[in-house]
């Protein structure tokens, strides 16, 4: 604790500099450091030359929904509603664990949705509500 008044106690939290902590609330320990980052962070998608394992020569017949995602990407690009570099940028922006856990076309549909949101073609609200509607229709829990 580095300071105190009648409202709160101030603690230096690793990684955040100074912040206020209400001692009556649960405290979550956060690991970190106060030093500045010396090096840029390499983006997760920029993987050329990194160590990796053996290539498993898996192939799969593309599921129909995957082909629909691919078709949507091609059509929307042809119609000027997205550019391939917007798609790439949005995929690159996925957090590393999402990037790894999502399948290829899960990343693509996520990127299509984000591009359309960024361009104002759809809103988050209408997409969310449409997904809820579909889930209800299909008897699936979102």
């Amino acid at each position: 604790m580095v300071a105190k008044n009648d409202k709160y106690e101030v603690y230096r939290c690793a990684g955040f500099g100074e912040s206020t902590v209400n001692a009556a609330l649960p405290v979550v320990a956060v690991a970190g450091h106060n030093r500045a980052m010396r090096e840029p962070i390499r983006s997760h998608h920029d993987m050329g030359g990194l160590p990796a394992g053996a290539v498993e020569k898996t192939e799969h017949d593309y599921a129909f929904w995957e082909k629909r995602v691919d078709a949507l990407n091609v059509l929307l690009a042809a119609k000027g509603h997205l550019r391939v570099d917007e798609m790439r940028k949005n995929i690159e922006a996925l957090p590393p664990d999402a990037y790894e856990r999502m399948s290829y076309y899960e990343r693509w549909i996520s990127a299509i949705a984000n591009t359309l949101l960024q361009r104002g073609v759809i809103t988050a609200d209408e997409l969310g509500r449409k997904m809820e509607e579909i889930a209800r229709r299909e008897g699936v829990r979102l």
């Binding site: 390499r42 920029d46 050329g48 030359g49 550019r83 570099d85 917007e86 790439r88 940028k89 690159e92």
Partner: protein, 108 residues
């Protein structure tokens, strides 16, 4: 060397096949199509591919103009990877936009 004025359409080409170039060691954020592993390395231009809108800008739905000349640049694998296993003649070709390239001295 002063850069000639760019037209609205394309930045004039600075390089031609055979030129020794070095990839800038820069690390901006954003949608960059110059792979991390090649930054700072020396290569030789093997093909001038003509001007293309800048993908760093296209990523934000901006036009990416004036278009940047694009080059296929050839690198020696043994110079990029300290532990490269393979023929001394093995090469790696990467397409790099002009604004990521600077003239190099004699290619090492």
């Amino acid at each position: 060397m002063s850069r000639p004025a760019a037209s609205n359409a394309a930045v004039p080409a600075r390089f031609k096949p055979g030129d020794a170039v070095v990839v800038r060691r820069a690390y901006p954020p954003g949608h960059v199509r110059t792979p991390w592993y090649i930054r700072g390395h020396h290569g030789t231009v093997v093909h001038a591919l003509g001007p293309f809108p800048n993908p760093e800008e296209l990523a934000y739905n901006r036009p990416g103009l004036p278009a940047q000349p694009l080059y296929r640049v050839r690198f020696r694998q043994s110079q990029i990877w300290p532990d490269y296993v393979g023929g001394a003649g093995d090469t790696l070709d990467v397409e790099i936009y002009q604004h990521w390239l600077e003239p190099a001295g004699a290619a090492p």
